[in-house]
């Protein structure tokens, strides 16, 4: 029996193609996922992300707990509303999950974690609470729904539907959030576009969803969410990283604060095991297929593997994230095993797309001669 979000009936009424996503019945698309993708890049689209779990951390020990529990430094969270992306690591330095933590007010932080990891995360957090004897409470908020409205016109559409929120959020900077009554708005997302993530009581979700449709926001499914996040160079737990992968080998060293005296779970393991591989972007230069996870990558420095691959609607080409040996630089050509063929791809700097702009020079992609 699949778990359902408060918007399940709304998805079905829209004719969504529903799939099992980590035990949740979720919309894959409502028609063309490429059109949904373009709506987010060019205008405004929205995603039901109520399957993700909000965990509120309350108590005098909350900040100290986060300093020990997260690889990124919770001390960066000084002004209320500020958000921080981080992973939490196991003692071996592998990634248990990645999350966003919001500093809402004194002694109150809010975590948003991946749906498929929610149970594991909660158990892990409870165990760390014991280990550090932390004075706090963990409140999983299954009573909340979450809608991500994303795109260059997303915030304007949200204000149109929720006019009372404009004054309080118009000046809000990216990676900040605000609690307004029983609604939380955060200028965060997983698409590489501007927008809001809205957290609200489940009972209000369907009304808000319908109002946003009325304002011209296009419902988008998990298919578009995946192509958007991949173009934005954002990792997906379970594909680009997991408990056996160091964040240093997963392209998110920038979120790991190894400086200073602060100790955190997994730090000793990371110091003992420096970066050994790198996560890079690939753009398929040849015709002949689509890059997919688990395809073998051959470089001059050795072999690697694609961790996530797809067709990029913005570039009109196949792109991927790949874990490859160190020493292979942007601009290098590599070979990817696509079915029975060896295709040439180019190593590029991430992200591929940000704020509607393609950051890859496609005119330089034509391959004249195979290495």
């Amino acid at each position: 029996m699949l778990k359902t979000t408060p918007l399940n009936a709304a998805h079905r009424a829209l004719g969504a193609r529903m799939v099992d996503f980590g035990g949740w019945g979720m919309p894959l698309n409502y028609g063309s996922q490429i059109e949904e993708h373009h709506a987010v890049r060019r205008d405004a689209g929205m995603f039901d992300v109520s399957h993700m779990l909000v965990i509120d951390v309350h108590g005098a020990g909350a900040r100290g707990f986060l300093r020990r529990m997260l690889a990124n430094n919770a001390d960066k969270l000084q002004d209320p509303g500020r958000a921080l992306y981080s992973c939490m690591l196991n003692d071996e330095g592998g990634v248990i999950d990645d999350l966003i933590v919001y500093f809402l007010c004194d002694e109150f932080f809010r975590l948003v974690v991946n749906a498929g990891r929610a149970d594991k995360d909660l158990a892990w957090l409870e165990s760390l609470k014991e280990r550090f004897d932390a004075a706090l409470e963990l409140w999983p908020r299954r009573d909340l729904a979450m809608i991500a409205v994303q795109g260059p016109n997303a915030r304007e559409r949200v204000w149109q539907v929720l006019p009372g929120t404009r004054a309080a959020t118009e000046a809000m900077r990216t990676f900040h959030g605000a609690q307004l009554g029983e609604l939380m708005l955060a200028r965060t997302g997983y698409t590489g576009e501007d927008g809001f993530e809205l957290m609200l009581p489940a009972a209000r979700a369907e009304t808000l969803w319908s109002a946003l449709i009325g304002a011209g926001v296009k419902p988008c499914g998990l298919g578009a969410r995946d192509t958007l996040r991949l173009e934005a160079g954002m990792n997906l737990w379970g594909q680009d990283m997991d408990e056996s992968v160091s964040p240093l080998d997963a392209g998110i060293a920038w979120t790991v604060d190894l400086d200073g005296a602060r100790d955190f779970v997994g730090k000793a393991a990371l110091l003992a095991r420096p970066q050994s591989r790198q996560l890079v972007g690939l753009v398929l230069a040849d015709k002949g297929g689509v890059l997919r996870g688990h395809q073998k990558v051959t470089t001059l420095e050795g072999e690697g593997m694609i961790t996530s691959g797809t067709f990029s609607p913005s570039l009109g080409r196949s792109i991927a994230l790949a874990r490859i040996p160190l020493g292979v630089n942007a601009g290098a050509l590599v070979q990817v095993s696509v079915r029975d063929k060896q295709l040439t791809a180019k190593v590029v700097k991430l992200p591929f797309v940000r704020n509607g702009r393609i950051l890859i020079n496609l005119s330089q992609l034509t391959v004249e001669e195979k290495p």
């Binding site: 193609r17 894959l28 298919g223 297929g289 689509v290 067709f311 609607p313």
Partner: protein, 126 residues
């Protein structure tokens, strides 16, 4: 979902239409394109090559996944729709208009072993 009466169907979701000259046009069904989602790549078999029944002879990739297209009956490929390779999204727009290749069957009677529209509609609904 539509299932034209004049076509025959395979369990692996290919449709087969008999042309005036006795060759068979092959494509994928409306149900198949809907399950695959946005089609972005198509690789067709070389003209002149013979395949056994059920043999993988073409590849179709959507944003989401890659899938084989199988030879509905044994035969030789006599034409490939190269225009479709340039605009694979046509498969989503009109699955039964988007023929991929044509074959000359080894035994024309083999087509009798394929499903008719009613049988396929039942198969696809499973």
């Amino acid at each position: 979902m539509t299932t034209p009466e004049h076509l025959k169907y395979t369990e692996t979701h290919e449709w087969v239409g008999t042309e005036a000259d006795g060759t068979l046009a092959v494509g994928i069904t409306d149900h198949a394109q809907e399950v695959l989602g946005d089609i972005v790549f198509l690789e067709l078999p070389p003209v002149g090559k013979r395949y056994a029944q059920g043999e993988a002879c073409a590849v179709i990739e959507s944003v989401k996944a890659a899938s084989d297209i199988n030879m509905p009956v044994a035969g030789i490929v006599v034409a490939a729709n190269d225009g479709l390779v340039q605009s694979p999204e046509q498969v989503n727009a009109d699955a039964y208009g988007a023929w991929m290749f044509r074959i000359k069957p080894d035994k024309p009677a083999d087509i009798g072993g394929l499903m008719d529209a009613a049988a396929y509609a039942g198969h696809a609904a499973k």
